[in-house]
Amino acid sequence: MDYSFIKLTVGLIATIGLYSILYRENKFYRLTEHIFVGLAAGWSLVALWTVTLKDMWWSKMMGAEASETSGVVAGYWPYVFLLPIGLMGYFVFNRKHSWMSRIPIGIILGLVVGQEAGAWLKRDLPQIEAAMKPIVPNTEVGFFVPTDPVAGALYPSQMLGNIIFLTTMLTVLSYFLFSFDFKTKFMQKSTLTGRWLLMIGFGAIFGNTVMTRFTLLIDRMYFVWIEWLIQGVFKMG
């Protein structure tokens, strides 16, 4: 048995172990689950230094010697202040000083939420712009869009689409108004329509997601039957 087949077989056993939950909760699943969580935690410990702290913190603080291919990199000592800040988090289990854990948390949160305003500008505003669709058609060009359309023209069939687009957008937005007590029939209808039209979006998401999930299963079955059985055991193809 060569190494790559052993590796495939280990993967197969792990797969069967996790799939066994489909029948019912059992000891084999429990064993696989604990190995899984253990390996993941072990890997986090490895990645902690090799992926995060070494490059993002230690090398920047201590610098790097010159090598054949790159020059000297200076070390910047102020990076060391991050360590005591991080350590303050460990006061969380101390009743008297637990408030100190909020300092690193506050800094992390600040660094994350501070980016939200900028993110909103680049993410949402262009979509708002794209939602501003014209609804006055250029009727002289025909009803449906031909294969060779007039540049810049809006065909009546497109207009209908744009009206539906805007109706959906505005009614769905109106569904998410929480602090207004809608007394008028029109607004009540609008929020209800919004909820219904929202379901179209969710339906589309459902359809697309089904594709992904089934593909993952297909890939697993490909692994089991083609890669393990046919290519691994029977050494074919």
Binding site: E68, T69, R123, T212, F214, T215, L216, D219, G237
Partner: protein
């Protein structure tokens, strides 16, 4: 469960009460059979590429030869089913068109760079077997490795591309060297110098890039692009990423397994005039006669049967409910 139920069941109730385990078993059988049939019969199923994939294909076919494309590949083997098919198709096109690329991961998934390198090795082996030129690491492509924080990396690339990428790769027969000395990277100074920025992802990294990257509009041949960012995403991320495509925040989007098949189909047949919705007169030759259909098509039959099964089961459930209701006296 079913066996403990003392009351005799109607047909309608039975239709609704397949046990979970039965449903699971049917699914495994259906999918396994389809995968095996597809493998041994080598089926090619029809497909009709959508606008997102067409625009994506048009852009990577229009970009000038010799320019450098950034590929941010954030996928691992856990979404191999969809992502690998897309990634392989992308690589085949880039290699056939002699476009240089730098591949990296910016999602903190330590395994992703190796997964990408493995795929490149596989495609390269196929190229050599087909008598094509091997794509050489360092001269034709580089691996920039891992950037643990996508947000920070995108921001840093916008601010200063040269300092944001502080990585080494291995030239043939030499020790690891600063990537900026590689032919792939040496001409780049700011982020607008890259040809295209393509994201292959199974998660929300598309949001992160859209929120942080910004490109000046550019025209490649007949294809005007308002941005150089394009995405290959899994089906789940499809509808959300599609919004960015609809508002021109990305130039094209390839969604899921169907998208992988669409790209393979476009590679085979190209785009004929009038076919592309966005660029009506655009005409692109495909790569007829080369190996275009690959992993996407290998899984496509199973996708049909599995989705067909889901539809049948949902119909069964609803017919069952309808029959039961009718028996128990009207719309009770």
């Amino acid at each position: 469960m079913a066996t403990n139920d003392p009351t005799p069941r109607s047909f309608g109730q039975r239709l609704q009460s397949l046990s979970r385990q039965t449903v699971y078993l049917i699914l495994i059988i259906v999918v396994s059979a389809s995968v095996l049939i597809s493998k041994f019969m080598g089926l090619t199923l029809p497909n009709k590429p959508g606008a997102g994939s067409q625009d994506f294909f048009a852009a990577i076919m229009a970009i000038p030869e010799g320019s450098t494309v950034f590929i941010q590949s954030d996928v691992t083997n856990s979404t191999r089913g969809e992502s690998a098919g897309q990634f392989e198709a992308l690589l085949r096109i880039l290699m056939r068109r002699n476009i240089k690329f730098a591949v990296f991961c910016a999602s903190g998934e330590p395994q992703a760079p190796q997964v990408a390198i493995d795929v490149i090795a596989r495609i390269n082996a196929q190229r050599i077997a087909n008598g094509e030129r091997a794509y050489e690491r360092w001269n034709d492509w580089v691996s920039l490795g891992l950037f643990p924080d996508g947000r920070a990396t995108a921001k840093a690339m916008m601010a200063n591309l040269r300092t944001a990428i502080d990585k080494k790769d291995t030239p043939p027969g030499k020790p690891p060297t600063d990537v900026w000395q590689s032919p792939v990277m040496e001409k780049l100074k700011v982020i607008d110098d890259i040809g295209l920025y393509i994201l292959v992802t199974a998660s929300k990294t598309s949001d992160i890039l859209v929120e942080r990257l910004k490109f000046a509009p550019v025209t490649y041949g007949d294809v005007p692009l308002r941005t150089k960012l394009g995405c290959m995403v899994t089906g789940v991320m499809g509808p959300e990423t599609n919004n960015y495509y609809r508002s021109s925040q990305i130039f094209g989007v390839v969604i899921g397994l169907n998208g992988a098949v669409e790209i393979e189909h476009l590679m085979e047949n190209g785009i004929k005039p009038g076919q592309s919705e966005t660029y009506r007169s655009l005409s692109i030759e495909g790569f007829k006669g080369m190996q275009n259909y690959a992993r996407g098509m290998a899984y496509y039959l199973a996708l049909h049967t599995a989705m067909g099964l889901l539809i049948v089961l949902v119909i069964m459930g609803n017919v069952g409910m309808w029959l039961t209701r009718r028996q128990t006296g009207g719309g009770a």
